[in-house]
């Protein structure tokens, strides 16, 4: 446990009006973006980052934490009202919550979503608070070999665990890693892939790239789909208190809340797998262990409890590897790591030693914003009928403008817009062809660290690959990576005998 002075310092950092106001505004923004179908939690974060660039570290992190947690809950609202998940993380149980609404039980569904999201979020934070400092102490002894294997494990998870078509995820990851090599080479200082452009010497600016991949690509997809769309479906909003009967549901399903939350934290902590996969997995596990699996998908509350606890718990989980090792747990924390580097707070175990007050301030912000979710969520549900009426044809051009201005602000030149446009078109084409874009951002963020650790290790060992296995932890991690590859390739080869299934189009 940290000393009282560190905790009080952290408390003072968080309790400033600037931080609280930022968290509140970012939370409201996250609620809105998450509730709008087609706009995701990652997009909320991507659009916020250019603003956080101009803030101090703590308000900047408060804005991101607040917006991303609110957006994950808010995705449940259009799921219940329109049968369209607001974010991919709410897709797992959209059928259940919509059918509950059709039976006049909207308040029960959304009330449960909200309270369970809050509980799941808090459990995720508890695990983060306990696990991160312990892991950090352990990680202090790591050398470049351990970091190399950790980064490789993270990248491998993104390919094999978090995607439906490992081959396409691998290509996306390679693309991200290759983009990360653009610019001056860190070991020799040679310019790489710059084609004589001075703008490229510093590398591909990460935030415009991300705005392109996650926001502009979504806008392009959105405006194309707008053509000839039918009038919006009738919304059946039930008046009355939101939380009536919710306590009973939670008391009847305590194991579901716990199981969903713990699954969420674990999956969130895996690099590359975030809230959406956590929700699907929690839902599937819940169905497997349920006494009434046949009721799932017909307006049953049980799976909804597991999965909405799971997706919010995943947020806390995804910050564990991000803060301790600088390895992102999902695309939102990939953005966070970029922001931390910009603020000079390089993530890694040393932050826990040098600036523990910053880490504990982040933990406090997490608790604060998760509790704030209840009143903000209540408000969001109450005004949902009006906000969901805002048509996409109004919203998408506004998002496009924010993309343009945000990308410009990161480089203070139109070059930021050029990067955004290039990545936006790339992301759009790739997603239309079933290639997930989240691994690109993972590669782009992890690339520099991965290369530095790889090159350091190669130079230290004089090219002897066995040296990568000489230290006990490095050897364990290395064997894990090799096993993961072996098992996945074996499974892929065996599956070839069966007819191939069409890849599922993943959106993040």
């Amino acid at each position: 446990m940290p000393g009282l002075d560190i905790l009080s310092q952290a408390f003072l950092l968080v309790m400033s009006p600037e931080v609280l106001l930022t968290a509140l505004l970012a939370g409201a923004f996250g609620m809105f973006v998450g509730a709008m179908p087609g706009l995701t939690a990652t997009m909320a974060t991507a659009l916020l980052v250019p603003l956080t660039f101009f803030m101090d570290p703590i308000p900047a992190l408060a804005a991101i934490v607040s917006a991303s947690s609110m957006a994950i809950f808010a995705g449940d609202i259009p799921g219940a009202l329109l049968r369209i998940p607001g974010t991919p993380a709410s897709a797992a149980y959209v059928e259940d919550s919509y059918r509950l609404t059709m039976r006049g039980k909207m308040n029960e569904a959304l009330g449960t979503n909200l309270i369970v999201s809050c509980i799941g979020g808090l459990i995720g934070i508890a695990v983060l608070v306990v696990a991160a400092p312990m892991l950090a102490e352990f990680a202090l002894r790591f050398t470049s070999y351990e970091y190399f294997w950790l980064a490789t494990l993270g990248l491998s998870c993104a390919i094999f665990v978090a995607s439906s078509d490992p081959l396409k995820a691998a290509v996306a990851l390679l693309l991200g890693l290759t983009l990360a090599t653009v610019g001056l080479d860190p070991t020799t200082g040679v310019p790489r892939f710059t084609f004589g452009m001075t703008d490229l010497l510093a590398g591909i600016e990460f935030i415009p790239a991300m705005i392109g991949l996650f926001a502009l690509a979504e806008v392009m997809r959105g405006v194309i789909r707008l053509h000839g769309r039918a009038a919006p479906t009738e919304m059946r909003v039930t008046p009355g208190p939101l939380f009536k009967g919710v306590g009973g549901i939670i008391r009847r399903h305590p194991t579901n809340v716990m199981r969903g939350s713990l699954m969420g934290v674990l999956i969130g902590a895996l690099p590359g797998a975030g809230a959406d996969i956590a929700a699907w997995m929690s839902y599937a596990v819940s169905k497997k262990f349920s006494k009434t699996p046949e009721k799932y998908g017909t307006g049953h509350v049980e799976g909804l409890v597991d999965a909405s606890a799971g997706n919010n718990a995943a947020i806390g989980g995804s910050w564990i590897p991000a803060l301790v090792f600088g390895i992102p747990g999902d695309s939102v924390t990939a953005i966070v790591i970029g922001v931390l580097y910009m603020k000079g707070m390089n993530p890694g175990p040393t932050v826990f030693l040098q600036n523990p007050q910053l880490i504990y301030a982040v933990f406090m912000i997490f608790v604060l914003t998760t509790l704030m979710m209840v009143p903000l969520g209540w408000g969001a549900v109450k005004v949902a009928k009006q906000t969901l009426r805002v048509p996409s044809r109004v919203l998408l051009p506004i998002v496009m403008s924010l993309c343009i201005v945000g990308a410009f602000a990161m480089t203070n030149s139109v070059f930021g817009i050029v990067i955004m446009l290039g990545m936006g078109i790339t992301g759009w084409i790739l997603e239309e062809n079933g290639v997930p874009v989240a691994p690109i951002i993972l590669g782009l963020v992890l690339g520099p660290m991965f290369e530095r650790m790889f090159m350091t290790s190669m130079i230290k060992s004089n090219g002897d690959l066995l040296a990568f296995f000489e230290r006990p932890i490095a050897a364990t991690l290395g064997v894990c990576v090799l096993l993961l590859w072996a098992v996945s390739i074996y499974k892929a080869v065996r599956q070839r005998r069966k007819p191939a299934t069409p890849p599922v189009n993943q959106t993040h």
Binding site: L51, P397, M400, N412, V414, I417, G424, I425, N433, M458
Partner: protein, 160 residues
């Protein structure tokens, strides 16, 4: 734009070859066996391998599906059914900001571009103009007045 996996795989193979060739041009230093080209070369081999497997996978599938496979190249259905103008309006807006705003300034490019986009998305002329104006003013206020981002002022330099 929907490409077949074979075409997409082929593209990645070509990309891998290009990266490999470019990396081979990087200068190397005496006494430093592992230089700037090492990781890009490894990644390039990855591209070639993954692309080749994608192509093979598709070919096997086509053989077993006996004519049931899709075309090598197709447009996304929504794009075929009339979504193209909207897509071009979005891309046009961004290209205009890249090419025209340094000369004309962010404000006029944004107002005109957004108005066109809203009109393409079939909003009424009045609504389109008002929304374009409001969005532009809010962006300017937030980024230029509050955050001091030097968005291009163009010929309005000195007026604002």
């Amino acid at each position: 734009m929907k490409l077949s996996d074979a075409l997409l795989g082929g593209f990645f193979v070509l990309l891998g070859i290009a990266v490999l060739w470019l990396a081979s041009q990087f200068p190397s230093f005496q006494g430093q066996p592992y230089g700037a080209a090492l990781l890009p070369s490894i990644l390039a081999v990855g591209f070639i391998l993954c692309g080749a497997i994608m192509m093979l996978r598709e070919l096997r599938l086509r053989r077993s599906a006996a004519g049931g496979a899709g075309p090598a190249f197709a447009l996304v259905p929504d794009l075929r059914e009339g979504g193209a103008p909207a897509l071009f309006a979005v891309l046009g807006n961004i290209l205009a900001q890249i090419w025209l705003s340094p000369m004309l300034g962010f404000l006029p490019v944004s107002v005109i571009g957004l108005s066109v986009l809203f009109l393409v998305l079939r909003l009424s002329a009045i609504k389109a103009l008002l929304l374009a104006l409001a969005t532009t003013v809010v962006c300017w206020w937030l980024f230029v007045d509050l955050l001091r981002v030097p968005l291009p002022r163009g010929f309005l330099d000195g007026v604002l």
